[in-house]
Symmetry: C2
Subunit: 190 residues, 2 copies
């Protein structure tokens, strides 16, 4: 509301969920979630059917900003090849931030271990949307098999996300852009 500078209970819950689930994992309890959000459990259950729904909604709200950060807009300049590489440059940049723990959607999928969980459905949609952005650019760039190239790029993207997010790898020497360049060349991408 315009008369208050305080976020709504719903927004506070989704902010707390995004933060807690990303840093501590999806097994964080309702108590901790409500405490961090400054919202009573009663209020939470008035807004959401379950913690699972809070998690799903928090990932859903995060998706557009995540995509906007990674994927160049339709009016941004660049060849299809440059637009694909941009995604990996952005991921490499993000991986150096102290709070980085990899792709939140991939992490949720790995942790939930249930493709039918409402948050898994949201996470899968976010991953599919990145894959489709790759495929569209691969097609524009004349790749021999755009769908295959998009799947290969997702392997690299998610492998890098999981490995850098868990601190077994670092990306800031251009590991992914170098790897992706090889795949783009082999696919005949302009």
């Amino acid at each position: 509301m315009a008369t208050t500078d305080k976020a709504s209970p719903r927004d506070r819950l989704l902010d707390a969920a995004a933060e807690l689930f990303y840093h501590d994992g999806v097994s964080i309890g309702v108590e901790a979630l409500c405490r961090t959000a400054g919202v009573s459990k009663r209020s939470m259950y008035q807004l959401f059917d379950s913690k699972d729904e809070v998690l799903a909604a928090s990932l859903e709200r995060r998706a557009p900003g995540y995509a906007a950060r990674l994927i160049p807009g339709p009016d941004d300049a660049g060849t299809p090849r440059e637009r694909i590489l941009y995604v990996f440059e952005q991921a490499e940049r993000a991986s150096t931030e102290p709070a980085y723990m990899g792709c939140p959607f991939l992490a949720a999928l790995v942790e939930l271990k249930d493709p039918d969980h409402p948050a898994s459905v949201v996470a899968r949609t976010a991953k599919e949307s990145l894959q489709e952005a790759f495929r569209a650019q691969a097609e524009l760039g004349g790749a021999q098999d755009p769908a295959l190239l998009a799947r290969q790029l997702m392997l690299v993207f998610d492998g890098a996300s999981a490995r850098a997010g868990t601190k077994v790898e670092t990306l800031d020497d251009g590991l992914t852009t170098r790897t992706v360049t090889v795949l783009l060349d082999a696919a005949g991408m302009r």
Copy 2:
């Protein structure tokens, strides 16, 4: 012991831990663990300091079998290129099994979100040992930059593991072997 066909409480705990943590995640509680193992909590705490130590020990016990399944033995035939591809062929094969949920070590790292957790340390060692196997074969095969190629192969391996393990991708059309072939060619591997 030879006089009984029953596994020891320690083995039962480690078997139950490997199974439960892989299928349900690392947040499984001590109650469920002990119930599945048929071991009292008291016995568990006589054998292990904490659930974290059970998890670490279960991953540690799983590592040699996991490596033996993926990595060809020193006496197995094959060029360095074939030996690298073998790892991915095995992973593609494993991914079609109903119980497949990706690499257990990667999943533990993603779920634990703490590089210093005793089970993360074990998991990281397992990942490093696969990476070193790749690097050694890359060197034998004359790759231009064996260390870089090994890191690239790990991106593909872990990306495939996370994606196929969470059912957002399928590998049985040879996705990883095709991708790896591109990387091996570009690295000048024999």
